[in-house]
């Protein structure tokens, strides 16, 4: 884990350490929330909406989110599009390759429960939360860029409310 993340454990032991941890907590989580770099990952129709959200009209960069090509440098993976049975192990590996404080946004009906392909399709995974732990679900097929941006803002709120202690068991 990053060196800075060991500091809270020692800070709690010294007297008055609580103030330091809460102060540190807000700084760390504010920074995490304010600069979420999302992985360039899109499989189906939601990927086109993800592109439009990244383009000039609904700009992701306003929230400080830029796209990174490699999972190593990204801390948010927006699963945009249908995940088929053949793609599921790839998605799991991509998630494992990401560095630790990582978050997942499940965008679109297919990632929540298989969407329009829930019935009668032998090759579609019914939702991705049994593959990777999901933080934010965004319904819609494909969801509008506004709802994707709202999902990201909800994720930022969620990160800010996090406690330092609950990083460990994630």
């Amino acid at each position: 884990m990053g060196i800075i993340r060991k500091v809270p454990h020692y800070a709690e032991k010294i007297p008055g350490g609580g103030i330091i941890t809460t102060a540190l907590e807000t700084v760390l989580h504010q920074a995490q929330a304010k600069s979420l770099w999302y992985l360039l990952f899109g499989t189906a129709c939601c990927a086109i909406e993800l592109m439009c959200t990244g383009a000039s009209r609904y700009d992701f960069d306003r929230l400080g989110m830029i796209y990174r090509a490699t999972p190593r440098q990204s801390d948010l993976i927006i699963v945009a599009g249908t995940i088929t049975k053949k793609m599921a192990p790839r998605l799991r590996r991509l998630y494992d390759q990401m560095a630790e404080p990582r978050y997942v946004i499940a965008m679109g009906g297919c990632t929540i429960s298989g969407g329009p392909f829930y019935y009668d399709s032998y090759a579609v995974e019914k939702g991705i939360d049994h593959i990777i732990p999901v933080d934010i679900y965004i319904p819609g097929c494909p969801p509008r860029p506004e709802s994707l941006l709202e999902g990201c803002i909800h994720l930022q709120e969620k990160i800010k409310k996090q406690k330092l202690s609950d990083w460990q068991e994630k």
Partner: protein
């Protein structure tokens, strides 16, 4: 040449190998026996005032009684369109690969092999490519196919 002229020309010419059917709703539809498929394919491409050199589509069909392989072909130079099908009984579902007439049919044949189980003779690389590599539940597009987690849409 119009669709009817094409229909008469084809049914009269290839010494009866292409028997016209009336199920085609837009373009002329023929039926071919599976053993002289290769010869018909070569003739259709070589015939000078037909020149069917462009492959539109090969569709595998499971009509609950037998398999069908429906070839849709077109001619770029003469602006013609033609469909013909090969009826394959369930027990002997084998078809000749017509790759050397239309090289683009390689993946289509591979697909009907993978999804329907129609065996394609001397095809070259009949490998699995649409379904996951560890797929062991048979050929999913068949009507009688079923799997434990395969849910049908309820009738409402």
């Amino acid at each position: 040449m119009t669709k009817d002229e094409l229909k008469d020309y084809v049914s009269s010419h290839f010494d009866g190998k292409l028997t016209p059917l009336d199920t085609g709703r837009y373009d002329p539809m023929f039926q071919v026996k599976s053993e002289d498929l290769m010869e018909v394919a070569r003739a259709l491409k070589a015939d000078e005032n037909l020149q069917f050199d462009y492959l539109c589509n090969l569709a595998g069909v499971d009509t609950k009684e037998h398999f069908e392989a429906v070839y849709s072909i077109a001619s770029i130079s003469n602006n013609l369109r033609l469909d013909f099908k090969v009826i394959l009984p369930y027990d002997k579902a084998e078809i000749e690969s017509v790759q050397e007439v239309w090289p683009g049919i390689n993946w289509y044949e591979r697909e009907i092999w993978e999804l329907y189980g129609i065996n394609v003779l001397n095809h070259g690389n009949l490998k699995r490519f649409l379904l996951p590599d560890d797929w062991d539940q048979g050929h999913p597009m068949r009507k009688d196919w079923d799997a434990p987690d395969f849910e049908r849409m309820p009738e409402f």
